[in-house]
């Protein structure tokens, strides 16, 4: 891997794949009237500025929780989704805008394997037919014989049987005419792999390829992937939520959170000494299969927020155990904190009557406001100050002013520091702690 991180860098020659500042935004479906009233378009920021390169023969692990955009990156690489912005290079060629016959030719060289092998196979198609299907689709390139001729059919059959043997689908002659329903989960995933490999691609995108498989067969499929890589010089983009599997498989690791890569670099470095608090959290929650090594963990709070309105500053800041006052605190963080405070019967006291109900608070950008009773405004400002003493220190410190205007209480936050990619010990991290 050469150029690291989210920033665009020139493509180098030995890179099989390079993404430069890739963005994929999906429009949110809304009723017509609402769409008219809305000034700006509402979009899901599934991928929001991702850059990385994969060198030929390498495995890059793209790791993150559901909704972080890792699958969208994978789909964009195969051009199953259209990038909103940014560039995708494959083998030095810009494939971002490719269409028609050129795109089809590209698909021979990049294949994708999905999580659910059962859903990836047509239940009414025999295994042999499914695996040979890509050859028929691309027959103009592959078929030495005339399409539809008997010789062509036999040629495909031989190719399919060879591929089946290679992925361990034996006895191949017997399995050839079976249907997906007759096979186990592990076997089905092998069928999907044989089908992906029959066109002899260079790059394989594996999207949670073993997550649905039982533990006892998972290892076999992973071994097969490594074996095929060695034999055919394949390059993998290995997408997973499981850092333990990624550790075993990958040369390079990219940790993704809410559309951004937060840490990327050689797997050995990142596992030995994770830098980003999110990477640390992910590594910490992997259970150790030893009852003598139970430990109390410091978990990030809450869940992955909505990608329609990602948090300001560092997107991980509302959950981060190491958060600073300059990480991106904003109005809605205060409302969330207040919500939590008001729902704690031990701490709430009469705060609810002064600062509640929580629904009356409005947050926009760096500001949170409460339309209050004109008589209560002064008291409310004082109470906000009191409540903030119980807030996380970094949040309280990020508050710039607490003021009142007629009957409105206004809590205003400082602008966050700008987040940059920083090189730290062989990897690139996007975190203020290292800037």
């Amino acid at each position: 891997m050469t150029g690291l991180g989210n920033r665009a860098q020139p493509a180098s020659n030995d890179e099989m794949l390079r993404l430069e500042d890739l963005k994929v935004h999906f429009p949110v479906k809304m009723p017509f009237v609402q769409r008219l009233l809305q000034r700006e378009e509402t979009v899901v920021h599934a991928v929001d500025g991702v850059s990385f390169g994969i060198r030929a023969g390498e495995i890059l692990g793209l790791v993150g929780e559901s909704g972080c955009g890792k699958s969208t990156v994978g789909r964009a690489c195969v051009r199953l989704v259209k990038p909103t912005a940014g560039r995708i290079f494959f083998d030095g060629q810009d494939i971002t805008e490719l269409g028609g016959g050129k795109l089809r030719a590209l698909r021979r060289r990049i294949q994708i394997i999905f999580q659910d092998p059962h859903a990836s196979l047509n239940p009414a198609m025999t295994i042999g037919k499914a695996i040979g299907h890509p050859l028929r689709i691309h027959s103009s390139v592959f078929g030495p014989q005339k399409t539809g001729s008997e010789a062509f059919g036999e040629w495909i059959r031989q190719k399919v049987l060879t591929a089946m043997k290679e992925v361990g689908l034996t006895p191949e002659e017997q399995l050839y005419d079976k249907y997906p329903g007759d096979l186990s989960g592990g076997q089905k995933q092998r069928v999907v792999m044989a089908r992906a490999l029959i066109l002899e691609p260079n790059l394989l995108v594996v999207d949670e390829g073993v997550s649905m498989l039982d533990m006892s067969v998972r290892a076999k499929v992973l071994e097969l992937m490594l074996d095929l890589k060695r034999r055919h010089g394949l390059t993998y983009l290995f997408i997973t939520h499981d850092l333990a599997t990624a550790k075993f498989m990958c040369d390079q690791i990219a940790i993704m959170y809410l559309g951004r890569i937060v840490e990327i670099g050689p797997a050995s470095e990142i596992y030995a000494d994770p830098k980003h608090p999110y990477t640390k959290a992910l590594l910490q929650v992997i259970p150790i299969p030893d009852p003598d090594r139970r430990s109390k963990k410091v978990l990030p709070r809450g869940e992955v927020p909505d990608a329609v309105h990602p948090p300001a500053g560092c997107r991980f800041h509302p959950r981060c155990p190491a958060v600073l006052s300059s990480c991106g605190w904003e109005g809605r963080d205060f409302v969330d904190f207040l919500d939590e405070h008001l729902s704690d019967p031990k701490r709430v006291g009469d705060d609810e009557s002064v600062l509640g109900p929580i629904e009356d608070w409005r947050a926009k950008g760096l500001v949170a406001r409460l339309e209050s009773d004109p008589l209560k405004v002064g008291k409310a400002v004082e109470r906000v100050k009191a409540v903030l003493t119980e807030a996380p220190v970094s949040l309280a410190e990020a508050v710039e002013t607490i003021s009142s205007q007629n009957r409105t209480v206004i809590v205003r936050f400082r602008s966050p520091d700008q987040l940059l990619q920083t090189k730290v010990q062989g990897r690139t991290v996007e975190c203020l702690l290292y800037q």
Binding site: M215, K220, L222, A244, P289, R294
Partner: protein, 288 residues
């Protein structure tokens, strides 16, 4: 299972672990053949009338399902889920039922005003916390959690497991944790039952199972776990059998590297090889 104990039931897809949980609650499809006994505090649940069984469900034994996304009725407010359940078991006023529902929700860290929201207004982790609150509102003494964290993200999974453990202690509850994830079992269980193809193959304390597994299937399962210290991959040859015509003798014998002729002929009984450590293997003593 002892009072206050956490028992992990582990096994792979199709080994019967979820069926076991449903059987205990008597919610298997009608006309399912259930033989044997399910003794709950000395009472055989299989002999109960439907009416009696309904009193046990929720009130004494509660169940949390795998997928919180589909287990809440999308057309019902959270509050109504609670009210329906409380009124089905106790004749209390709506006001009191509502108070208890609010308390249960708040104990799960969800603001009480949200009790009027609908399920789709909550995230996955919150929905699973609501499911737990629903399971606990009647203060059952046994909670069956069937893959409670499988559809959740890893960090939220750890959060939910933390909550379950805290609650178990707070309510003096017993927990039957059904899972395929051995890492979770190692972290939270006191004892472990290993199922294979519908049979209990090993039962023992969590230390027995993880440090001294006696059944070759347990051994294979443990070595196939991929964790951060995994140096090489292991797997079990073959795949789980078809339960319409399961293998004769020990059901694991076609995949077992230690199999002898006796394994094909004779079903191994569950034997206590050391105090509290049971295994159903003809050669269990070989691994002691």
């Amino acid at each position: 299972m002892q009072e206050g104990e956490t028992l992990g039931v582990v096994g792979e897809t199709g080994c019967g672990k979820s069926t076991l949980g449903k059987a205990i609650l008597g919610i298997l499809p009608a006309r399912t053949l259930v033989a044997g006994k399910i003794l709950f505090r000395g009472r055989d649940l299989t002999q109960l009338s439907n009416l009696m069984y309904r009193r046990i469900r929720g009130e004494e034994i509660a169940l949390i399902f795998q997928d919180p996304m589909t287990r809440l009725n999308p057309l019902m407010r959270i509050q109504d889920h609670f009210l329906e359940e409380i009124h089905a078991h106790e004749s209390v006023s709506s006001t009191e039922a509502r108070t208890r529902a609010r308390e249960a929700l708040v104990s799960m860290g969800i603001h009480e005003t949200r009790i009027r929201n609908y399920p789709h207004e909550f995230s996955g982790g919150m929905r699973q916390r609501i499911m737990i609150a629903l399971a606990l509102v009647l203060k059952p003494s046994l909670l069956i959690a069937d893959e409670p964290t499988t559809s959740l993200d890893v960090i939220v999974e750890a959060q939910i497991l933390d909550i379950l453990q805290d609650l178990k202690e707070a309510y003096h509850m017993s927990l039957l944790l059904i899972t395929h994830n051995l890492g979770i079992v190692a972290e939270v269980c006191d004892r472990v039952a290993v199922l294979y193809a519908g049979k209990l193959v090993e039962l023992g304390s969590v230390r027995d199972i993880f440090h001294k597994p006696l059944h070759p299937y347990t051994q294979g399962l443990l070595s196939s776990v991929i964790h951060l210290e995994t140096k090489e991959l292991h797997s079990i040859e073959g795949s789980p059998p078809d339960l319409i015509a399961p293998p004769s003798g020990c059901r694991f014998h076609p995949r077992c590297s230690y199999a002898e002729p006796i394994c094909t002929d004779k079903i191994p009984p569950l034997v206590e090889f050391e105090p509290g450590h049971f295994a159903a293997c003809h050669f269990g003593d070989k691994f002691l």
